[in-house]
């Protein structure tokens, strides 16, 4: 699914975000990325869907060499990857339904299929009765569900979540984790960057710990391993 070899990346301001990262992630895995702020967790996820391009090294996602993708190929490459952020990134003026349908309009799905698929995914994340609400009328957890619904509506093989529970209270976080586990159970690879010790230690999965742009620990059913 994901293969990285000696990936090196330096931002224009001189910060070395990734300093020789090599990792292999199989289809269907659930992986936590942990580590202090500035350790390179976000960059690590960003190069997977070509929001950043590494300076050196090989990144293969879905059997595609990411750094050699042409500009024209990037949109199609991204359609097989779902992305969820801490700040949800919903469009405030659109309803829940429209926010999710947006992801399908963009790839020119037919209006009839859009309706069917949006209703189905809303059912899946448990928000069928909130379709006509706008994001501001929802709780944080509900907004994150909308974002997740948008990310998985194209049945991506890979779901990248950058601190998805960062803005949520503990209880809501558990609900979101339940949803992510369900998605993972259906075969989607989930990669989740997080600062939550509770989650990592309770729902045991593979843990990749990063510091200063390097992977310092990689263990299955691992622990968070940092003091808060």
């Amino acid at each position: 699914m994901i293969e990285m070899q000696n990936v090196y990346m330096k931002y224009p301001n001189g910060v070395v975000a990734l300093n020789g990262v090599s990792v292999s992630i199989e289809q269907g895995e659930f992986v936590y990325i942990v580590g202090p702020s500035g350790a390179g967790k976000s960059t690590f996820t960003k190069i997977m869907f070509r929001e950043e391009t590494p300076d050196n090294g090989q990144v293969i996602v879905n059997n595609q060499e990411v750094s050699t993708l042409k500009w024209k190929e990037v949109p199609h490459f991204r359609r097989n990857i779902g992305v969820v952020y801490q700040d949800f990134r919903l469009l405030p003026k659109l309803t829940v339904y429209e926010n999710i349908a947006f992801a399908l309009e963009v790839i020119e799905e037919s209006p009839r299929n859009i309706r069917k698929r949006v209703m189905k995914v809303l059912d899946q994340v448990g928000l069928k009765n909130k379709a006509r609400f706008i994001p501001d009328e929802l709780s944080g957890g509900e907004q994150q569900r909308v974002a997740i619904a948008r990310a998985i509506i194209n049945h991506p093989g890979l779901l990248i979540a950058d601190e998805p529970t960062g803005n949520l209270d503990p209880e809501t976080s558990w609900e979101i984790m339940q949803l992510l586990e369900d998605i993972n159970a259906s075969g989607t690879t989930v990669i989740m960057a997080t600062h939550s010790q509770d989650i990592v230690n309770s729902i045991r999965k593979r843990v990749i710990a990063m510091e200063d742009g390097m992977i310092v620990r990689d263990e299955h059913r691992g622990e968070y391993g940092y003091e808060i």
């Binding site: 929001e51 500009w71 024209k72 949109p75 199609h76 490459f77 991204r78 359609r79 992305v83 990134r89 469009l91 947006f102 992801a103 309009e105 963009v106 790839i107 020119e108 037919s110 209006p111 948008r150 194209n154």
Partner: protein, 297 residues
């Protein structure tokens, strides 16, 4: 592209034009001003060119024959003129015909000249046309050196002046219009840049879910086109109504003159189409210029 997608782009483009109404008014104003000037300029230049062309076609040499010339010498002169290479046609015009023409062309006042019908003071003449209007001067020069030629007249000076003026006006006009066109493009690209800034988040999400660049570009393309179309409404109305008025009123003056302005139909429509085309190009160019930078993410 699917029809439902096109519908979406049209809706988005129109919505953005409406949402940023102040900037829309500013850039539509700039396009309007530009196009009004472009339109007036086009009408003037094309008509001047047309008139100059007509005049040039009409340029002929009138070689007046000395009053005392024998008929044989006149025939000989005709042969000599015909033997000049660049001459296309030679026509003999008696002094009576000449007088009739003069009386006709002067209208009311011309009647005074009819007194001369009994004792015509004019010369018989050869009307000579050069094969190429530009060579008229040379031919006239050669004829004037022949025997029994009293005087050679031709309208070349007049036409030359008109062409020179035409070119002069064209250069100034072009410079002015180019400057205006660029101002309008700049304003439009700024207008659209503002709508892009407002939609930066939306574009980011579009890219996140795998929208192609052309998908993102379309609504802006349509917005630019709309600004161009809105900007050409007033100029086209001015051109159509103004030229209609002009073509109605200039006819009265024309009775005295031998040139005509281009007819309202189809000329005014052609200019209108051209103005619409320029307006749309300005809008589209401006919009694509401003989107370019935002897509490289």
């Amino acid at each position: 592209m699917k029809f439902s997608t096109l519908k979406r782009h049209l809706k988005e483009g129109a919505k953005n034009t409406w949402r940023n109404s102040w900037m829309t008014i500013a850039s539509v104003g700039a396009v309007t001003t530009t196009l009004i000037l472009v339109g007036i300029f086009l009408v003037l230049m094309l008509n001047l060119n047309h008139i100059a062309g007509e005049l040039e076609e009409d340029v002929q040499i009138k070689a007046l024959i000395e009053l005392t010339t024998e008929q044989a010498a006149v025939d000989q002169l005709e042969e000599n003129i015909k033997s000049i290479n660049q001459v296309a046609s030679v026509e003999f015009q008696t002094k009576d015909e000449e007088l009739d023409n003069l009386i006709d062309s002067l209208g009311e006042q011309g009647q005074a000249w009819s007194l001369y019908e009994q004792d015509n003071p004019l010369n018989d003449a050869f009307i000579v046309k050069a094969a190429n209007p530009q060579e008229t001067g040379q031919v006239a020069q050669q004829i004037s050196e022949m025997e029994h030629v009293y005087e050679v007249n031709y309208g070349q000076d007049y036409v030359d002046n008109l062409f020179a003026f035409n070119e002069y006006a064209r250069n100034i006009g072009l410079a002015l219009i180019l400057a205006l066109v660029f101002t309008a493009i700049f304003l439009i690209s700024n207008t659209i840049k503002i709508t892009i800034l407002a939609r930066k988040k939306e574009i980011g999400i579009m890219k996140l879910v795998g929208a192609t660049n052309s998908f993102i570009r379309w609504p802006f393309f349509i917005e630019g086109m709309l600004l161009g179309i809105l900007g050409s409404i007033i100029p086209i109305s001015i051109i159509l109504s103004g030229y209609y008025y002009l073509s109605q009123n200039v006819i009265m003056i024309q009775e005295f003159s031998f040139v005509e302005i281009l007819p309202f139909h189809p000329f005014a429509w052609q200019v209108s189409g051209l103005i619409l085309g320029i307006g749309v190009s300005i809008g589209v160019w401006g919009s694509l210029m401003s989107v370019r930078k935002f897509l490289k993410v």
